[in-house]
Protein backbone atom coordinates (compact mmCIF):
# COMPACT_ATOMS: atom_id res chain seq x y z
CA UNK A 1 0.00 0.00 0.00
CA UNK A 2 2.81 2.36 0.93
CA UNK A 3 4.58 1.47 -2.29
CA UNK A 4 1.43 2.26 -4.26
CA UNK A 5 1.14 5.78 -2.89
CA UNK A 6 4.87 6.21 -3.24
CA UNK A 7 4.64 5.34 -6.95
CA UNK A 8 1.80 7.83 -7.41
CA UNK A 9 3.82 10.52 -5.69
CA UNK A 10 6.90 9.71 -7.76
CA UNK A 11 4.87 9.85 -10.95
CA UNK A 12 3.48 13.27 -10.18
CA UNK A 13 6.81 14.59 -8.92
CA UNK A 14 8.55 13.49 -12.13
CA UNK A 15 5.78 15.06 -14.17
CA UNK A 16 6.19 18.39 -12.46
CA UNK A 17 9.95 18.26 -12.86
CA UNK A 18 9.52 17.96 -16.62
CA UNK A 19 6.94 20.73 -16.68
CA UNK A 20 9.26 23.01 -14.73
CA UNK A 21 12.07 22.54 -17.25
CA UNK A 22 9.88 23.32 -20.26
CA UNK A 23 8.31 26.34 -18.57
CA UNK A 24 11.74 27.71 -17.77
CA UNK A 25 12.85 27.35 -21.36
CA UNK A 26 9.62 28.94 -22.55
CA UNK A 27 10.47 32.19 -20.79
CA UNK A 28 14.18 32.15 -21.61
CA UNK A 29 15.43 33.90 -24.75
CA UNK A 30 15.55 31.76 -27.89
CA UNK A 31 18.92 30.82 -29.30
CA UNK A 32 17.76 30.80 -32.92
CA UNK A 33 19.01 33.46 -35.30
CA UNK A 34 16.63 34.74 -37.99
CA UNK A 35 19.03 33.48 -40.57
CA UNK A 36 18.68 35.49 -43.75
CA UNK A 37 17.96 38.66 -41.80
CA UNK A 38 20.57 38.15 -39.11
CA UNK A 39 23.73 36.17 -39.46
CA UNK A 40 26.21 34.76 -37.05
CA UNK A 41 29.87 35.42 -37.59
CA UNK A 42 31.77 32.18 -37.17
CA UNK A 43 34.67 31.86 -34.81
CA UNK A 44 38.06 32.98 -36.03
CA UNK A 45 39.40 29.56 -37.06
CA UNK A 46 36.32 28.64 -39.07
CA UNK A 47 37.20 27.16 -42.46
CA UNK A 48 34.93 28.86 -44.99
CA UNK A 49 35.37 29.54 -48.69
CA UNK A 50 39.01 29.75 -49.79
CA UNK A 51 40.30 33.13 -50.88
CA UNK A 52 43.38 33.63 -53.02
CA UNK A 53 45.60 36.62 -53.66
CA UNK A 54 47.38 36.40 -57.03
CA UNK A 55 49.58 39.37 -56.10
CA UNK A 56 51.49 37.54 -53.37
CA UNK A 57 51.47 33.97 -54.65
CA UNK A 58 54.91 32.72 -55.66
CA UNK A 59 53.64 29.69 -57.55
CA UNK A 60 55.62 27.17 -55.49
CA UNK A 61 53.09 24.31 -56.00
CA UNK A 62 53.18 23.37 -52.29
CA UNK A 63 49.40 23.76 -51.95
CA UNK A 64 48.85 21.48 -54.95
CA UNK A 65 51.00 18.83 -53.35
CA UNK A 66 49.35 19.24 -49.96
CA UNK A 67 45.78 19.08 -51.28
CA UNK A 68 44.32 15.65 -50.45
CA UNK A 69 41.38 15.98 -52.82
CA UNK A 70 43.41 17.27 -55.75
CA UNK A 71 41.28 20.34 -56.31
CA UNK A 72 43.97 23.03 -56.76
CA UNK A 73 45.78 23.72 -59.97
CA UNK A 74 48.04 26.53 -61.13
CA UNK A 75 50.33 27.58 -63.95
CA UNK A 76 53.39 29.76 -63.48
CA UNK A 77 53.92 32.92 -65.42
CA UNK A 78 56.78 32.69 -67.94
CA UNK A 79 59.33 35.11 -69.23
CA UNK A 80 59.43 35.67 -73.02
CA UNK A 81 62.27 33.15 -73.07
CA UNK A 82 59.98 30.51 -71.62
CA UNK A 83 61.48 30.52 -68.14
CA UNK A 84 59.10 30.08 -65.21
CA UNK A 85 58.98 32.93 -62.71
CA UNK A 86 57.50 33.13 -59.20
CA UNK A 87 54.10 34.44 -60.33
CA UNK A 88 50.95 32.61 -61.33
CA UNK A 89 49.49 32.79 -64.81
CA UNK A 90 46.31 31.35 -63.41
CA UNK A 91 45.28 29.55 -60.26
CA UNK A 92 42.12 27.50 -59.78
CA UNK A 93 40.30 25.74 -56.97
CA UNK A 94 37.46 23.27 -57.62
CA UNK A 95 35.06 23.70 -54.71
CA UNK A 96 33.20 20.65 -55.87
CA UNK A 97 36.18 18.61 -54.73
CA UNK A 98 37.47 20.77 -51.88
CA UNK A 99 36.97 19.35 -48.41
CA UNK A 100 37.94 22.51 -46.51
CA UNK A 101 40.85 20.84 -44.67
CA UNK A 102 43.11 23.91 -44.43
CA UNK A 103 46.22 21.96 -45.52
CA UNK A 104 46.82 24.33 -48.45
CA UNK A 105 46.75 27.29 -46.11
CA UNK A 106 49.13 25.60 -43.69
CA UNK A 107 51.79 24.86 -46.29
CA UNK A 108 51.60 28.25 -48.00
CA UNK A 109 55.05 29.81 -47.46
CA UNK A 110 54.18 33.44 -48.17
CA UNK A 111 53.47 35.94 -45.48
CA UNK A 112 50.59 36.81 -45.38
CA UNK A 113 49.13 33.59 -46.76
CA UNK A 114 48.31 33.64 -50.44
CA UNK A 115 45.51 31.07 -50.09
CA UNK A 116 43.48 31.11 -46.91
CA UNK A 117 40.05 30.31 -45.51
CA UNK A 118 37.60 33.18 -45.17
CA UNK A 119 34.61 33.07 -42.80
CA UNK A 120 32.09 32.85 -45.68
CA UNK A 121 29.82 29.88 -45.15
CA UNK A 122 27.21 30.76 -47.77
CA UNK A 123 28.51 28.64 -50.62
CA UNK A 124 25.75 28.38 -53.18
CA UNK A 125 26.31 27.02 -56.65
CA UNK A 126 23.76 26.90 -59.40
CA UNK A 127 25.91 24.90 -61.81
CA UNK A 128 29.12 22.88 -61.87
CA UNK A 129 30.98 25.65 -63.68
CA UNK A 130 30.51 27.94 -60.72
CA UNK A 131 32.24 25.49 -58.43
CA UNK A 132 35.55 26.00 -60.21
CA UNK A 133 37.03 29.31 -59.21
CA UNK A 134 39.89 30.75 -61.23
CA UNK A 135 42.21 33.64 -60.45
CA UNK A 136 44.35 35.63 -62.89
CA UNK A 137 46.57 38.57 -62.03
CA UNK A 138 44.35 41.44 -60.87
CA UNK A 139 41.34 39.34 -60.01
CA UNK A 140 39.66 39.91 -56.64
CA UNK A 141 40.21 37.51 -53.76
CA UNK A 142 36.93 35.69 -54.34
CA UNK A 143 38.05 34.82 -57.87
CA UNK A 144 36.02 34.26 -61.01
CA UNK A 145 34.18 31.41 -62.63
CA UNK A 146 33.74 30.50 -66.28
CA UNK A 147 30.33 31.27 -67.74
CA UNK A 148 29.96 28.88 -70.69
CA UNK A 149 27.03 30.79 -72.20
CA UNK A 150 28.63 34.23 -72.28
CA UNK A 151 32.15 32.80 -72.73
CA UNK A 152 33.58 35.09 -70.07
CA UNK A 153 34.95 34.81 -66.56
CA UNK A 154 32.43 36.24 -64.09
CA UNK A 155 32.99 37.48 -60.55
CA UNK A 156 30.60 35.56 -58.26
CA UNK A 157 28.31 38.30 -56.97
CA UNK A 158 26.16 35.82 -55.16
CA UNK A 159 28.79 34.88 -52.65
CA UNK A 160 27.97 37.22 -49.79
CA UNK A 161 31.02 37.96 -47.68
CA UNK A 162 30.35 37.53 -44.00
CA UNK A 163 32.80 40.32 -43.28
CA UNK A 164 32.90 43.64 -45.11
CA UNK A 165 36.66 43.30 -45.49
CA UNK A 166 37.64 39.63 -45.47
CA UNK A 167 40.27 39.01 -42.86
CA UNK A 168 43.56 37.58 -44.00
CA UNK A 169 45.98 35.41 -42.13
Amino acid sequence: MNGYFRSIYDGFAGTFKGLRVTLRHLVLPSITVNYPLAKLKPYERFRGMLLFDPATCIGCNLCIKACPSDCIDLENMKTPEGKKIAKTQWYSIDFGKCNFCKLCEEVCPTKPKSVWHSLDYEHVFFSRHEMVRAWKQGDPWVGTYWDPKEKVYVIPEFQIPIEEVPSRR
Binding site: T22, L28, K39, F126
Partner: protein
Protein backbone atom coordinates in the same frame (compact mmCIF):
# COMPACT_ATOMS: atom_id res chain seq x y z
CA UNK B 1 39.23 78.58 -76.22
CA UNK B 2 40.40 76.43 -73.42
CA UNK B 3 39.57 72.87 -73.86
CA UNK B 4 37.28 71.68 -71.13
CA UNK B 5 39.03 69.26 -68.90
CA UNK B 6 37.52 65.85 -69.35
CA UNK B 7 35.15 65.30 -66.48
CA UNK B 8 36.05 62.42 -64.24
CA UNK B 9 33.86 59.51 -65.28
CA UNK B 10 30.98 59.35 -62.84
CA UNK B 11 30.94 56.15 -60.85
CA UNK B 12 28.08 54.17 -62.33
CA UNK B 13 25.30 53.39 -59.90
CA UNK B 14 25.23 49.80 -58.84
CA UNK B 15 22.82 48.01 -61.13
CA UNK B 16 21.98 44.60 -59.71
CA UNK B 17 20.52 43.52 -63.02
CA UNK B 18 23.72 44.23 -64.86
CA UNK B 19 25.95 42.82 -62.14
CA UNK B 20 23.90 39.71 -61.77
CA UNK B 21 21.81 38.84 -64.81
CA UNK B 22 20.39 35.64 -63.36
CA UNK B 23 17.16 36.23 -61.43
CA UNK B 24 17.83 33.33 -59.07
CA UNK B 25 21.14 34.80 -58.03
CA UNK B 26 19.65 38.27 -57.59
CA UNK B 27 16.97 36.76 -55.38
CA UNK B 28 19.55 34.91 -53.35
CA UNK B 29 21.69 38.01 -53.01
CA UNK B 30 18.74 40.15 -51.92
CA UNK B 31 17.66 37.57 -49.39
CA UNK B 32 21.06 37.05 -47.93
CA UNK B 33 21.72 40.66 -47.02
CA UNK B 34 21.45 40.49 -43.28
CA UNK B 35 22.82 42.18 -40.23
CA UNK B 36 25.86 40.48 -38.84
CA UNK B 37 25.50 39.46 -35.24
CA UNK B 38 28.89 40.12 -33.71
CA UNK B 39 29.50 39.82 -30.03
CA UNK B 40 26.32 37.84 -29.62
CA UNK B 41 26.05 36.18 -26.24
CA UNK B 42 25.97 32.42 -26.10
CA UNK B 43 23.00 30.79 -24.33
CA UNK B 44 25.26 29.77 -21.46
CA UNK B 45 26.13 33.46 -20.94
CA UNK B 46 22.66 34.85 -21.55
CA UNK B 47 20.37 32.36 -19.82
CA UNK B 48 21.52 32.99 -16.25
CA UNK B 49 20.86 36.73 -16.75
CA UNK B 50 18.24 37.08 -19.50
CA UNK B 51 17.31 40.63 -18.49
CA UNK B 52 20.61 42.02 -19.80
CA UNK B 53 19.35 41.35 -23.32
CA UNK B 54 17.57 44.38 -24.73
CA UNK B 55 15.26 42.38 -26.99
CA UNK B 56 14.23 40.25 -24.02
CA UNK B 57 13.29 43.33 -22.01
CA UNK B 58 11.40 44.73 -24.98
CA UNK B 59 9.50 41.46 -25.45
CA UNK B 60 8.53 41.33 -21.78
CA UNK B 61 7.38 44.95 -21.99
CA UNK B 62 5.25 44.24 -25.07
CA UNK B 63 3.66 41.18 -23.44
CA UNK B 64 2.87 43.19 -20.32
CA UNK B 65 1.46 46.02 -22.42
CA UNK B 66 -0.78 43.57 -24.29
CA UNK B 67 -2.07 42.11 -21.01
CA UNK B 68 -2.75 45.54 -19.49
CA UNK B 69 -4.34 46.74 -22.72
CA UNK B 70 -6.63 43.71 -22.84
CA UNK B 71 -7.68 44.25 -19.22
CA UNK B 72 -8.31 47.95 -19.86
CA UNK B 73 -10.38 47.11 -22.93
CA UNK B 74 -12.39 44.55 -20.96
CA UNK B 75 -13.05 47.01 -18.13
CA UNK B 76 -14.07 49.61 -20.69
CA UNK B 77 -16.48 47.24 -22.40
CA UNK B 78 -17.94 45.95 -19.15
CA UNK B 79 -20.39 43.07 -18.89
CA UNK B 80 -21.83 42.14 -22.27
CA UNK B 81 -24.46 39.66 -21.06
CA UNK B 82 -27.04 42.29 -20.10
CA UNK B 83 -26.65 44.43 -23.26
CA UNK B 84 -27.03 41.30 -25.40
CA UNK B 85 -30.22 40.39 -23.53
CA UNK B 86 -31.48 43.94 -24.16
CA UNK B 87 -30.57 43.51 -27.83
CA UNK B 88 -32.54 40.26 -27.91
CA UNK B 89 -35.56 42.01 -26.39
CA UNK B 90 -35.24 44.88 -28.87
CA UNK B 91 -35.02 42.42 -31.77
CA UNK B 92 -38.13 40.56 -30.58
CA UNK B 93 -40.18 43.73 -30.32
CA UNK B 94 -38.91 44.95 -33.68
CA UNK B 95 -39.77 41.62 -35.30
CA UNK B 96 -43.24 41.61 -33.76
CA UNK B 97 -43.84 45.17 -34.94
CA UNK B 98 -42.62 44.43 -38.47
CA UNK B 99 -44.08 40.94 -38.88
CA UNK B 100 -47.09 40.65 -36.56
CA UNK B 101 -48.28 37.48 -38.26
CA UNK B 102 -44.95 35.62 -37.77
CA UNK B 103 -45.17 32.98 -35.02
CA UNK B 104 -43.00 33.52 -31.95
CA UNK B 105 -40.96 30.39 -32.52
CA UNK B 106 -39.81 31.54 -35.97
CA UNK B 107 -38.66 34.87 -34.52
CA UNK B 108 -36.76 32.94 -31.86
CA UNK B 109 -35.32 30.54 -34.44
CA UNK B 110 -33.63 33.41 -36.29
CA UNK B 111 -32.09 34.59 -33.04
CA UNK B 112 -30.85 31.07 -32.28
CA UNK B 113 -29.33 30.91 -35.76
CA UNK B 114 -27.49 34.15 -35.07
CA UNK B 115 -26.20 32.68 -31.80
CA UNK B 116 -25.06 29.52 -33.60
CA UNK B 117 -23.16 31.63 -36.13
CA UNK B 118 -21.49 33.57 -33.31
CA UNK B 119 -20.48 30.32 -31.60
CA UNK B 120 -19.19 28.97 -34.92
CA UNK B 121 -17.00 32.04 -35.25
CA UNK B 122 -15.69 31.55 -31.73
CA UNK B 123 -14.57 28.09 -32.85
CA UNK B 124 -13.03 29.33 -36.10
CA UNK B 125 -11.16 32.23 -34.55
CA UNK B 126 -10.10 29.95 -31.72
CA UNK B 127 -8.65 27.55 -34.30
CA UNK B 128 -6.77 30.35 -36.04
CA UNK B 129 -5.38 31.64 -32.78
CA UNK B 130 -4.53 28.33 -31.16
CA UNK B 131 -2.56 26.98 -34.11
CA UNK B 132 -0.40 30.08 -34.08
CA UNK B 133 -0.12 30.03 -30.29
CA UNK B 134 0.81 26.37 -30.24
CA UNK B 135 3.51 26.93 -32.81
CA UNK B 136 4.92 29.86 -30.89
CA UNK B 137 4.83 28.05 -27.55
CA UNK B 138 6.33 24.86 -28.93
CA UNK B 139 9.04 26.92 -30.60
CA UNK B 140 9.93 28.83 -27.47
CA UNK B 141 9.90 25.71 -25.31
CA UNK B 142 12.46 24.31 -27.74
CA UNK B 143 14.39 27.64 -27.75
CA UNK B 144 13.32 28.37 -31.32
CA UNK B 145 11.39 31.37 -32.64
CA UNK B 146 8.55 29.80 -34.58
CA UNK B 147 6.69 31.69 -37.32
CA UNK B 148 8.11 35.18 -37.45
CA UNK B 149 7.38 36.79 -40.83
CA UNK B 150 3.73 36.60 -41.90
CA UNK B 151 1.74 39.58 -40.67
CA UNK B 152 4.78 41.52 -39.52
CA UNK B 153 4.47 40.92 -35.79
CA UNK B 154 5.71 37.48 -34.72
CA UNK B 155 3.94 35.77 -37.61
CA UNK B 156 0.46 36.41 -36.23
CA UNK B 157 -1.10 35.91 -39.68
CA UNK B 158 0.67 32.59 -40.26
CA UNK B 159 -2.44 30.53 -39.66
CA UNK B 160 -4.46 32.67 -42.06
CA UNK B 161 -1.84 32.04 -44.72
CA UNK B 162 -1.90 28.31 -43.93
CA UNK B 163 -5.70 28.31 -44.07
CA UNK B 164 -5.67 29.96 -47.49
CA UNK B 165 -3.14 27.38 -48.62
CA UNK B 166 -5.43 24.59 -47.38
CA UNK B 167 -8.36 26.15 -49.24
CA UNK B 168 -6.60 26.08 -52.61
CA UNK B 169 -5.06 22.65 -52.14
CA UNK B 170 -5.98 19.78 -54.37
CA UNK B 171 -8.46 17.50 -52.62
CA UNK B 172 -6.52 14.29 -53.16
CA UNK B 173 -8.32 11.16 -51.98
CA UNK B 174 -7.40 7.47 -52.15
CA UNK B 175 -8.96 5.52 -55.02
CA UNK B 176 -10.15 2.71 -52.75
CA UNK B 177 -11.96 5.02 -50.35
CA UNK B 178 -15.51 4.45 -49.17
CA UNK B 179 -16.59 7.60 -50.93
CA UNK B 180 -19.67 8.59 -48.98
CA UNK B 181 -18.24 7.87 -45.53
CA UNK B 182 -14.97 9.50 -46.51
CA UNK B 183 -16.78 12.74 -47.24
CA UNK B 184 -19.11 12.72 -44.27
CA UNK B 185 -16.48 11.82 -41.65
CA UNK B 186 -14.95 15.32 -41.21
CA UNK B 187 -18.41 16.84 -40.88
CA UNK B 188 -19.41 14.17 -38.40
CA UNK B 189 -16.33 14.98 -36.34
CA UNK B 190 -16.86 18.72 -36.52
CA UNK B 191 -20.61 19.16 -36.11
CA UNK B 192 -20.80 17.81 -32.52
CA UNK B 193 -18.21 20.27 -31.27
CA UNK B 194 -20.38 23.11 -32.50
CA UNK B 195 -23.29 21.65 -30.53
CA UNK B 196 -21.09 21.19 -27.47
CA UNK B 197 -20.53 24.92 -27.15
CA UNK B 198 -24.24 25.67 -26.73
CA UNK B 199 -24.50 25.41 -22.92
CA UNK B 200 -21.00 26.75 -22.11
CA UNK B 201 -21.40 29.89 -19.98
CA UNK B 202 -18.90 32.34 -21.44
CA UNK B 203 -19.70 34.82 -18.69
CA UNK B 204 -22.62 36.13 -16.70
CA UNK B 205 -25.83 35.54 -18.75
CA UNK B 206 -23.67 34.68 -21.74
CA UNK B 207 -24.54 31.10 -22.66
CA UNK B 208 -26.10 30.27 -26.01
CA UNK B 209 -28.59 27.88 -24.41
CA UNK B 210 -29.30 27.26 -20.73
CA UNK B 211 -29.83 23.49 -20.81
CA UNK B 212 -30.84 21.82 -17.55
CA UNK B 213 -28.82 18.68 -18.33
CA UNK B 214 -25.93 20.64 -19.84
CA UNK B 215 -23.19 18.29 -18.67
CA UNK B 216 -24.88 15.22 -20.06
CA UNK B 217 -25.53 17.13 -23.27
CA UNK B 218 -21.89 18.17 -23.66
CA UNK B 219 -20.55 14.67 -23.01
CA UNK B 220 -23.15 13.10 -25.28
CA UNK B 221 -22.32 15.42 -28.15
CA UNK B 222 -18.58 15.09 -27.77
CA UNK B 223 -19.05 11.33 -27.80
CA UNK B 224 -20.42 11.54 -31.34
CA UNK B 225 -17.11 12.92 -32.59
CA UNK B 226 -15.54 9.50 -31.98
CA UNK B 227 -17.81 8.21 -34.72
CA UNK B 228 -16.41 10.75 -37.18
CA UNK B 229 -12.86 9.73 -36.31
CA UNK B 230 -13.54 6.01 -36.60
CA UNK B 231 -15.34 6.54 -39.91
CA UNK B 232 -12.42 8.62 -41.20
CA UNK B 233 -10.10 5.77 -40.30
CA UNK B 234 -12.33 3.17 -41.91
CA UNK B 235 -13.24 5.06 -45.09
CA UNK B 236 -9.65 6.03 -45.97
CA UNK B 237 -8.79 2.46 -47.02
CA UNK B 238 -5.41 2.83 -45.36
CA UNK B 239 -3.95 0.59 -42.68
CA UNK B 240 -2.54 3.51 -40.71
CA UNK B 241 -5.84 5.36 -40.81
CA UNK B 242 -7.73 2.29 -39.69
CA UNK B 243 -5.34 1.63 -36.82
CA UNK B 244 -5.54 5.26 -35.78
CA UNK B 245 -9.31 5.24 -35.90
CA UNK B 246 -9.60 2.07 -33.85
CA UNK B 247 -7.08 3.26 -31.29
CA UNK B 248 -8.96 6.51 -31.07
CA UNK B 249 -12.23 4.68 -30.43
CA UNK B 250 -10.66 2.59 -27.66
CA UNK B 251 -9.00 5.57 -26.06
CA UNK B 252 -11.85 8.04 -26.23
CA UNK B 253 -14.43 5.59 -24.96
CA UNK B 254 -12.17 4.57 -22.07
CA UNK B 255 -11.31 8.07 -21.00
CA UNK B 256 -14.88 9.30 -21.18
CA UNK B 257 -15.67 7.24 -18.06
CA UNK B 258 -13.22 8.83 -15.58
CA UNK B 259 -13.92 12.19 -17.17
CA UNK B 260 -17.61 11.92 -16.44
CA UNK B 261 -17.23 10.30 -13.03
CA UNK B 262 -14.67 12.85 -11.85
CA UNK B 263 -17.24 15.64 -12.00
CA UNK B 264 -19.97 13.71 -10.18
CA UNK B 265 -18.90 15.37 -6.88
CA UNK B 266 -19.21 18.80 -8.53
CA UNK B 267 -22.67 17.95 -9.81
CA UNK B 268 -23.65 16.71 -6.36
CA UNK B 269 -22.27 19.83 -4.67
CA UNK B 270 -24.05 22.16 -7.08
CA UNK B 271 -27.19 20.02 -7.08
CA UNK B 272 -27.63 20.46 -10.81
CA UNK B 273 -26.43 19.21 -14.17
CA UNK B 274 -26.72 22.68 -15.66
CA UNK B 275 -23.42 24.42 -16.35
CA UNK B 276 -24.94 27.76 -15.43
CA UNK B 277 -26.12 26.39 -12.07
CA UNK B 278 -22.66 24.96 -11.41
CA UNK B 279 -21.13 28.39 -12.00
CA UNK B 280 -23.74 29.97 -9.72
CA UNK B 281 -22.94 27.43 -6.99
CA UNK B 282 -19.35 28.68 -6.98
CA UNK B 283 -20.24 32.34 -6.50
CA UNK B 284 -19.32 34.06 -3.29
CA UNK B 285 -16.23 34.13 -1.10
CA UNK B 286 -15.23 32.45 2.13
CA UNK B 287 -14.27 35.02 4.76
CA UNK B 288 -14.93 37.70 2.16
CA UNK B 289 -11.86 37.08 0.01
CA UNK B 290 -11.29 33.38 -0.71
CA UNK B 291 -13.27 32.18 -3.74
CA UNK B 292 -15.72 29.31 -3.22
CA UNK B 293 -14.47 27.50 -6.28
CA UNK B 294 -14.84 23.74 -6.36
CA UNK B 295 -11.11 23.42 -6.91
CA UNK B 296 -10.52 24.73 -3.39
CA UNK B 297 -12.69 22.10 -1.66
CA UNK B 298 -9.98 20.09 0.13
CA UNK B 299 -9.06 16.71 -1.40
CA UNK B 300 -12.22 16.29 -3.48
CA UNK B 301 -11.69 19.36 -5.61
CA UNK B 302 -8.05 18.64 -6.35
CA UNK B 303 -8.54 14.94 -7.14
CA UNK B 304 -11.45 15.76 -9.41
CA UNK B 305 -9.47 18.45 -11.11
CA UNK B 306 -6.45 16.25 -11.78
CA UNK B 307 -8.55 13.36 -13.10
CA UNK B 308 -10.66 15.68 -15.25
CA UNK B 309 -7.58 17.43 -16.61
CA UNK B 310 -5.82 14.17 -17.53
CA UNK B 311 -8.96 12.68 -19.06
CA UNK B 312 -9.58 15.91 -21.00
CA UNK B 313 -6.09 15.81 -22.48
CA UNK B 314 -6.77 12.20 -23.51
CA UNK B 315 -10.19 13.09 -24.92
CA UNK B 316 -8.70 15.76 -27.15
CA UNK B 317 -6.19 13.28 -28.64
CA UNK B 318 -3.21 15.32 -27.60
CA UNK B 319 0.23 14.31 -26.45
CA UNK B 320 0.94 12.40 -24.16
CA UNK B 321 -2.27 10.60 -25.20
CA UNK B 322 -1.98 11.07 -28.96
CA UNK B 323 -1.71 7.41 -29.96
CA UNK B 324 -4.54 7.83 -32.53
CA UNK B 325 -2.24 10.08 -34.55
CA UNK B 326 1.14 8.91 -33.32
CA UNK B 327 3.47 10.35 -35.94
CA UNK B 328 6.23 7.84 -35.33
CA UNK B 329 3.98 4.79 -35.68
CA UNK B 330 0.98 5.77 -37.81
CA UNK B 331 1.80 8.38 -40.41
CA UNK B 332 -0.82 10.80 -39.13
CA UNK B 333 -3.40 8.38 -37.79
CA UNK B 334 -7.00 8.72 -38.86
CA UNK B 335 -6.44 11.81 -41.02
CA UNK B 336 -3.50 10.40 -43.01
CA UNK B 337 -5.46 10.38 -46.26
CA UNK B 338 -7.22 13.70 -45.78
CA UNK B 339 -6.03 16.89 -47.39
CA UNK B 340 -7.23 20.40 -47.99
CA UNK B 341 -10.29 21.61 -46.14
CA UNK B 342 -11.26 18.12 -44.96
CA UNK B 343 -8.00 17.94 -43.08
CA UNK B 344 -8.57 21.48 -41.85
CA UNK B 345 -11.92 20.40 -40.38
CA UNK B 346 -10.23 17.67 -38.33
CA UNK B 347 -7.65 20.17 -37.18
CA UNK B 348 -10.34 22.68 -36.28
CA UNK B 349 -12.20 19.99 -34.35
CA UNK B 350 -9.13 19.15 -32.31
CA UNK B 351 -8.52 22.75 -31.32
CA UNK B 352 -12.20 23.37 -30.66
CA UNK B 353 -12.19 20.41 -28.27
CA UNK B 354 -9.11 21.78 -26.56
CA UNK B 355 -10.92 25.08 -26.06
CA UNK B 356 -14.04 23.28 -24.90
CA UNK B 357 -12.11 21.16 -22.40
CA UNK B 358 -10.38 24.22 -21.01
CA UNK B 359 -13.72 26.04 -20.81
CA UNK B 360 -15.25 23.08 -18.95
CA UNK B 361 -12.33 23.02 -16.49
CA UNK B 362 -12.82 26.73 -15.87
CA UNK B 363 -16.55 26.16 -15.41
CA UNK B 364 -16.41 23.13 -13.14
CA UNK B 365 -13.46 23.97 -10.94
CA UNK B 366 -12.66 27.66 -11.24
CA UNK B 367 -15.99 29.36 -10.96
CA UNK B 368 -16.51 30.22 -14.64
CA UNK B 369 -16.53 33.99 -14.83
CA UNK B 370 -16.04 34.63 -11.12
CA UNK B 371 -13.19 36.89 -10.09
CA UNK B 372 -10.59 35.37 -7.74
CA UNK B 373 -11.14 38.16 -5.20
CA UNK B 374 -14.05 40.58 -4.79
CA UNK B 375 -11.67 43.46 -5.53
CA UNK B 376 -11.09 42.22 -9.07
CA UNK B 377 -14.78 42.06 -9.88
CA UNK B 378 -14.43 45.31 -11.85
CA UNK B 379 -13.02 43.16 -14.64
CA UNK B 380 -16.04 41.67 -16.40
CA UNK B 381 -16.88 37.99 -16.05
CA UNK B 382 -16.38 37.12 -19.72
CA UNK B 383 -12.80 38.32 -19.46
CA UNK B 384 -12.19 36.15 -16.41
CA UNK B 385 -13.72 33.19 -18.16
CA UNK B 386 -11.61 33.78 -21.25
CA UNK B 387 -8.37 34.20 -19.31
CA UNK B 388 -9.01 31.06 -17.23
CA UNK B 389 -9.85 29.10 -20.37
CA UNK B 390 -6.78 30.36 -22.20
CA UNK B 391 -4.63 29.50 -19.20
CA UNK B 392 -5.82 25.89 -19.35
CA UNK B 393 -5.42 25.85 -23.12
CA UNK B 394 -1.86 26.92 -22.44
CA UNK B 395 -1.55 24.01 -20.01
CA UNK B 396 -2.68 21.64 -22.77
CA UNK B 397 -0.04 23.02 -25.12
CA UNK B 398 2.54 22.92 -22.34
CA UNK B 399 1.81 19.23 -21.64
CA UNK B 400 2.05 18.45 -25.30
CA UNK B 401 5.57 19.81 -25.60
CA UNK B 402 6.76 18.29 -22.34
CA UNK B 403 5.65 14.67 -22.19
CA UNK B 404 6.50 11.71 -24.38
CA UNK B 405 3.74 9.51 -25.75
CA UNK B 406 2.11 6.73 -23.72
CA UNK B 407 2.41 3.17 -24.90
CA UNK B 408 -1.06 1.84 -25.73
CA UNK B 409 -1.22 -0.82 -22.99
CA UNK B 410 -0.03 1.65 -20.37
CA UNK B 411 -2.54 4.14 -21.65
CA UNK B 412 -5.33 1.64 -21.04
CA UNK B 413 -3.90 0.59 -17.66
CA UNK B 414 -3.76 4.23 -16.64
CA UNK B 415 -7.42 4.92 -17.18
CA UNK B 416 -8.91 1.59 -16.08
CA UNK B 417 -6.61 0.86 -13.14
CA UNK B 418 -5.87 4.34 -11.87
CA UNK B 419 -8.15 7.15 -13.03
CA UNK B 420 -11.44 5.27 -12.91
CA UNK B 421 -10.99 3.73 -9.41
CA UNK B 422 -9.82 7.04 -8.04
CA UNK B 423 -12.78 8.86 -9.52
CA UNK B 424 -15.03 6.38 -7.66
CA UNK B 425 -13.08 6.90 -4.45
CA UNK B 426 -13.45 10.62 -4.99
CA UNK B 427 -17.20 10.32 -5.09
CA UNK B 428 -17.02 8.63 -1.67
CA UNK B 429 -14.76 11.43 -0.42
CA UNK B 430 -17.36 13.98 -1.44
CA UNK B 431 -20.08 12.49 0.79
CA UNK B 432 -19.18 14.62 3.84
CA UNK B 433 -19.36 17.81 1.75
CA UNK B 434 -22.82 16.97 0.51
CA UNK B 435 -24.30 16.14 3.91
CA UNK B 436 -22.58 18.82 5.94
Amino acid sequence: MAEAAPAAPAKPAFDPKAACPDIRRRLWASKTKGTLLEGRLWPSDLWPHPWISESYRRGAFVLGAIAIGAIALAVGLGEIGAPLAALHEFYRQWAQARLPEAPAWSVEAVWILVKAIVVLHIILINGLFLVWWERKISAHIQSRLGPIFVGGWHGWLQTVADGLKLLIKEDAAPAQKDSWLYRIAPALAFAPVLLCFAPVPFGRDLEAANIDVGIVYVFACSGVSVLGIVLAGWASANKYSLLGGLRSAAQLVSYELPRAFSIVPMVALAGSLSLTKIVQAQEGYWMGFFPKWFFFYPIVGQISFVIFLIASVAETNRTPFDIPEAESELVAGFHTEYSGMKFALFFLTEYAYVFLAAALIATFFFGGGAAPTPLLSVIPSWFWFLSKTLFFVFCFLWFRWTFPRFRIDRLMDFTWKFLLPWSFVNIIFSIPYIFL
